[in-house]
């Protein structure tokens, strides 16, 4: 699954650690999600959408 997490984060000038703190997850979690190596759980995906004030499908794009 692709995602726009890095783009949304850099728009706000947040570091990966800043974003992790806001979501209550480690920096490594943010790195793995941004690189597309890890798909977050539904609660974390919702928390990400809520934090960036957008829908989950605006952040995460399923790949065929």
């Amino acid at each position: 699954m692709e995602n726009r997490l890095r783009e949304l984060r850099t728009e706000r000038n947040w570091s990966q650690e800043d974003l992790g703190k806001r979501l209550g997850v480690s920096r490594q979690t943010i790195i793995a999600i941004e690189k597309g190596k890890y798909d977050p759980s539904l609660p974390l995906a919702f928390a990400i959408g809520q934090l960036f004030d957008c829908k989950i499908e605006d952040v995460f794009i399923p790949t065929p």
Partner: protein, 137 residues
Amino acid sequence: MSIARLFCWDDVSKVWVKRYLIEFGAAMLGYTIVLPLSIIAIQRYDLGIWRAPIGLSPAVPLAFAVWAYARSVSLMDEFTKHIHTRSIVFAAAVTLIASVTISFFGNAGLPPLHFYVWPIMVGSWGVALGYNTFKYR
């Protein structure tokens, strides 16, 4: 580069890492005290019915060490938990395969199996954890 940075121990991770190091450290300290005392007591004194409980007493701090790890896993964030779970599953699989294989070789006169289980389990867990940690950096 600090050790905390090397292992990605940010402020969120430090919460469980600090707690784990304290609890696990205390358990291992207890083990290093109880084990020699237990061995000395068994070798020097006639303990009667207390022989078995005192002989098994080093298992108590070890159980606390396992509890400390299990508790730290419950405090981890979802991705860290994912990495640790993968590593434990890998270690369990390696230990299973190695144990069965060594059992087969036991007939050829190799030392008893219990010599191998602990280092294989901990070693393969450590390798898997290191690999998974650095893979996702």
